[in-house]
């Protein structure tokens, strides 16, 4: 009997011990509560907690819009990111000088009221609104614009905070390099008076206003950028712009909340605020939409269309595709150096089957890299590669592979199985990369080309692609930023892309350059068309489809007109519950 007394008595201290560990661990986790809270976060966050508790509890906040974003932003400083998940948030707080008309790629005035070029489009004079203030009360003016673009362009700018990790990686991408670099077209920006700025460029740039409309170039409050320093754009700092919503809080791993800017210069937002939830998984976004836990969301799987169509509470806003999904063939890997083999691959792929089966039939089979919106720059007489397995086999026989092949030669001379790389992540152009890859493999196997499917982390995938070490067939794609054919063509067939998969045609490079600096669209079209014909004949990458991303919304939501380039203001959206 005596022994029976021991365990329970002793078990109590054990539980106490476990509790102590738990608390200790909790304390570890929260070890630095006192010194850590960021100066800006505390007051902002306190107001809504205390206020509703005193007055009508949560009456106001429950009417916030809830947006299901496809991931967590890396930053809310629009100039310091390249990811769409971030730009969806920044566009609510930060505004561009020039914007797009809703649902199109037509330019529309925003913080700028007018823009005008000199004769050869090397100097652009932009007239600004004079009635705008930032969320922090400081005025928006020409100096603020100059500050923003200098922080972006000049590597030694005092308030760039590059040493703290800001990169502004998008700038060299669009302008060729930071200020002073030999490849850049950027010369400078100057404030002429309070409402006029002049941008100077090193070569004719007729499409400059389109650049300014890209979501990256949202204007931030110079005061906030200076004061918050490296914290600007992070969960501790948020963003301060002129937009219809102001930053409330960023709960890492969960959501970002924004409240209506009551002092907005334009028509104020219809809803009191918006909460952007981070939901990385497409199926989960759909489920949350079905459950009513989000009001609208983006980048669903194509199969979601059927689900949405069958649910009276849901709707899907129509979208024009402004992207390209393609399959790249690495020319450095024999037999893909052989044009006949590349043509055989193109003929072996049944794009229709892919579009019907895995995109729900919505979108267009792609014969060209340019989407419909840029059809004016497409070659008028294209010699396409229709699905024709017999022709593919003939071409393979002609190329010396009557029974097909299953190996390729790496640059170091070794043989390897033919690899088809598929993306580990869902992108609007390939929303479901894995089954598409499986379908590619099956179609290629039908004509005798045996491939192995492989993937790797998205970052490594891109890394190896840029370094030119992705051998074999590679699935990739692109969503356009603005209405410029070179945003599609130069990005894939320009001199900067030679290393990626070995395509090197100087004739194409110079045609694309000439098209970029041509003064009229007609002149540009001729160059683009010539380049397009050459590209189609060389066939370094097989265009697959132009397919619109799948968006979903609650049927009660009104006013959502998604932009083809991805991301738009939510100010006009409203929902009645």
């Amino acid at each position: 009997m005596k022994r029976s007394q021991i365990p329970l008595q002793r078990a109590l201290p054990l539980w106490a011990l476990l509790l102590v560990v738990t608390l200790m661990v909790a304390a570890c986790g929260g070890a630095t509560p006192a010194p850590a809270p960021a100066p800006t976060e505390a007051p902002a966050a306190e107001a809504p907690t205390e206020a509703p508790a005193a007055e009508a509890p949560a009456a106001d906040t429950s009417s916030f819009l809830v947006f299901g974003n496809s991931g967590e932003p890396d930053t809310v400083d629009s100039m310091d990111t390249t990811t769409g998940t971030a730009l969806y948030v920044t566009q609510q707080m930060l505004e561009n000088l020039i914007d797009f008309e809703p649902g199109t790629l037509e330019l529309a005035p925003a913080l700028a009221t007018a823009w005008e070029a000199n004769e050869d489009s090397t100097e652009w004079t932009i007239t600004l609104r004079d009635d705008v203030t930032f969320h922090d009360g400081t005025p928006f003016n020409a100096d603020a614009v100059v500050f923003n673009f200098r922080r972006l362009a000049e590597e030694d700018f005092e308030f760039g905070f590059r040493a703290e990790g800001k990169t502004y990686a998008i700038f060299p991408d669009i302008f060729g390099g930071y200020a002073g670099s030999p490849d850049t077209i950027w010369e400078g920006v100057e404030a002429v008076d309070d409402t006029t700025v002049v941008f100077t460029l090193g070569q004719p740039t007729p499409l400059f206003p389109n650049f300014l409309a890209a979501a990256y170039f949202g204007i931030s409050s110079p005061t906030a950028v200076q004061e918050l320093g490296a914290d600007y754009g992070t969960p501790n700092g948020g963003a301060v712009g002129t937009g219809p919503f102001t930053f409330l809080e960023w709960r890492p791993g969960e959501s970002i909340s924004l409240v209506r800017n009551e002092e907005y210069w334009g028509e104020p937002a219809k809803m009191p605020g918006v909460t952007v939830r981070f939901i990385g998984d497409a199926a989960q976004r759909l489920a949350e939409l079905q459950a009513g836990a989000v009001d609208f969301t983006i980048n669903l799987a194509p199969d979601a269309r059927a689900t949405i169509a069958n649910d009276a509470n849901l709707a899907s806003p129509p979208l024009e595709p402004f992207n390209i999904a393609y399959l790249s063939l690495n020319i450095n890997n024999p037999p893909f150096d052989n044009l006949l083999v590349r043509q055989a691959v193109a003929h072996a792929i049944d794009k229709e089957e892919i579009l019907e089966g895995l995109y729900g039939g919505v979108g267009d089979v792609a014969e060209d890299f340019l989407p419909d919106a840029l059809a004016w720059a497409r070659p008028t007489e294209l010699d396409p590669y229709p699905f024709d397995p017999e022709r593919a086999k003939e071409l393979l026989t002609e190329a010396g592979f009557p029974d097909g092949f299953s190996t390729m030669t790496l640059p170091d001379g070794t043989e390897s199985p033919v690899i088809l790389w598929y993306m580990p992540v869902s992108r609007p152009y390939f929303p479901t990369p894995q089954p598409v890859a499986e379908l590619f493999a099956a179609q290629l196997a039908d004509v005798g080309i045996q491939v192995e499917l492989q993937t790797e982390d998205w970052g490594v995938y891109l890394d190896n692609w840029d370094a030119g070490t992705k051998y074999g067939l590679v699935m990739l794609g692109w969503t356009g930023d603005y209405a410029d054919p070179n945003n599609f063509l130069r990005t894939h067939f320009g001199p900067g892309t030679v290393r990626e998969a070995g395509y090197d045609n100087p004739e194409v490079f110079s045609l694309l350059d000439e098209a970029g600096t041509a003064d009229t669209q007609e002149a540009a079209a001729t160059f683009f068309q010539q380049a397009g014909t050459l590209i189609n004949a060389d066939l370094p990458r097989v265009p697959i489809v132009h397919a619109p991303p799948v968006y979903g919304q609650n049927a009660a939501l009104e006013g959502w007109i998604p932009s083809p380039s991805g991301g738009e203001s939510f100010a006009n959206l409203s929902i009645s519950r």
């Binding site: 029976s4 508790a53 390249t82 990169t167 992070t234 909340s257 939830r277 998205w458 490594v460 890394d463």
Partner: protein, 346 residues
């Protein structure tokens, strides 16, 4: 005993140092560098080199043998130096301090794990006791079959199915995350455990909402340990119930419940506690998978995302922290045996 504890604590030092080294090394072995991942689809060499320099990734890994500056001016030694001072560095991705991120993400995992452990021990022990006292009954057969299945459950699948059934199909419970946005907006926690914070802040609706969100993931995570505890309790109880002194107790005319709870359960508890201790460690593994299924913003999803983004400071700090908690919990469990079982001597 005190000497034993001291020896064990000292023994942790080389293990923790080893973990720090291992994590640092493994991360550097992972192909792909954070600069490219941050810069995305469109970066140039120049940009990547600049960014690497900004992030200090161009410095030597271990020893600075360039002849310029200190021999120890390297990534490893500055990482170790900062870590020893309690500074886990700054996230590459979001540029917030790792310690601060840990403060937001760890309580989520802790809350999930505690809830799971509570469910597993209560349900497990009760089921085990009832099964043992009704040995051979339908209840016994049924619950032990369930337990057997539970032990073999791939919990990522279970989570998926529960989510489908209760959240998507029936709509009774939320699908993912920890709080409804309407309630979480502007809510500042104290401990980071929302169920407790709701009460501390005088907002019971937050506690309710948090419990609502917690239920599915916690049940998912609890399944395997619950099954193991139920089986263990049953067999320990059976062993005890067969002992002579139990018969004596009954012969003395004590009521069944008294016998079971007062005498049998007490004696059966030691092996059960052993098993509970073992499960605590395993829960952390399970938590990573459960968090993925339910988008639970805990330390598991945080570290996974860190690995994907090659956010070295997050992964280093996160794994080091998890491993430290892990070895400390194991140590405490070991120590508690010594406390519980007088036969163990050190």
């Amino acid at each position: 005993m005190a000497q034993y504890i001291l020896r064990r604590l000292l023994g942790l030092i080389p293990v923790l140092l080893g973990i720090a080294f291992l994590v640092f090394m493994m991360l550097r072995l992972i192909p792909g560098d954070p600069a490219t991942i941050m810069l995305g689809e469109r970066s140039t060499d120049e940009q990547r080199i600049n960014l690497r320099a900004q992030l200090g990734l161009d410095r030597p890994l271990f020893f600075n043998t360039t002849g310029e500056g200190n021999l120890f001016d390297s990534q490893y030694f500055s990482f170790m130096g900062r870590t020893l001072q309690g500074d886990l560095g700054t996230s590459i991705m979001r540029r917030t301090s790792v310690a601060e991120e840990l403060k937001t993400f760890f309580p989520a995992t802790l809350e999930l794990t505690i809830a799971a452990m509570l469910i597993a021990t209560t349900v497990g022990i009760i089921t085990g006791v009832l099964s043992a006292t009704r040995r051979g009954s339908l209840f016994d057969a049924g619950s032990m079959t369930f337990a057997l299945v539970g032990v073999s459950m791939p919990i990522f699948w279970l989570g998926l199915m529960l989510q489908y059934l209760f959240a998507v199909n029936l709509g009774w419970l939320p699908i993912s995350q920890r709080l409804s946005p309407d309630l979480s907006r502007g809510f500042q926690g104290i401990t980071g455990l929302y169920t407790i914070d709701g009460l501390l802040r005088g907002r019971p609706e937050i506690t309710l909402d948090a419990l609502h969100h917690l239920l599915l993931p916690a049940v998912t995570l609890a399944t395997v340990p619950m099954a193991i505890i139920a089986r263990m309790t049953r067999s320990a109880m059976l062993e005890v119930l067969g002992q002579d002194y139990m018969r004596t107790a009954r012969a003395k005319g004590l009521r069944d419940q008294v016998v079971v709870v007062r005498h049998a359960l007490k004696n059966a508890l030691l092996p059960v506690v052993t098993v509970i201790g073992l499960q605590l460690g395993l829960l952390l593994s399970g938590a990573i998978l459960t968090e993925t299924v339910f988008s639970w913003p805990g330390i598991g999803t945080w570290i996974l995302n860190g690995i994907l983004a090659r956010d070295y400071p997050i992964v280093q700090g996160g794994i080091l922290f998890v491993a430290t908690v892990f070895v400390l919990v194991n140590l405490l469990v070991d120590l508690s045996y010594a406390w519980l079982d007088p036969r163990i001597r050190y």
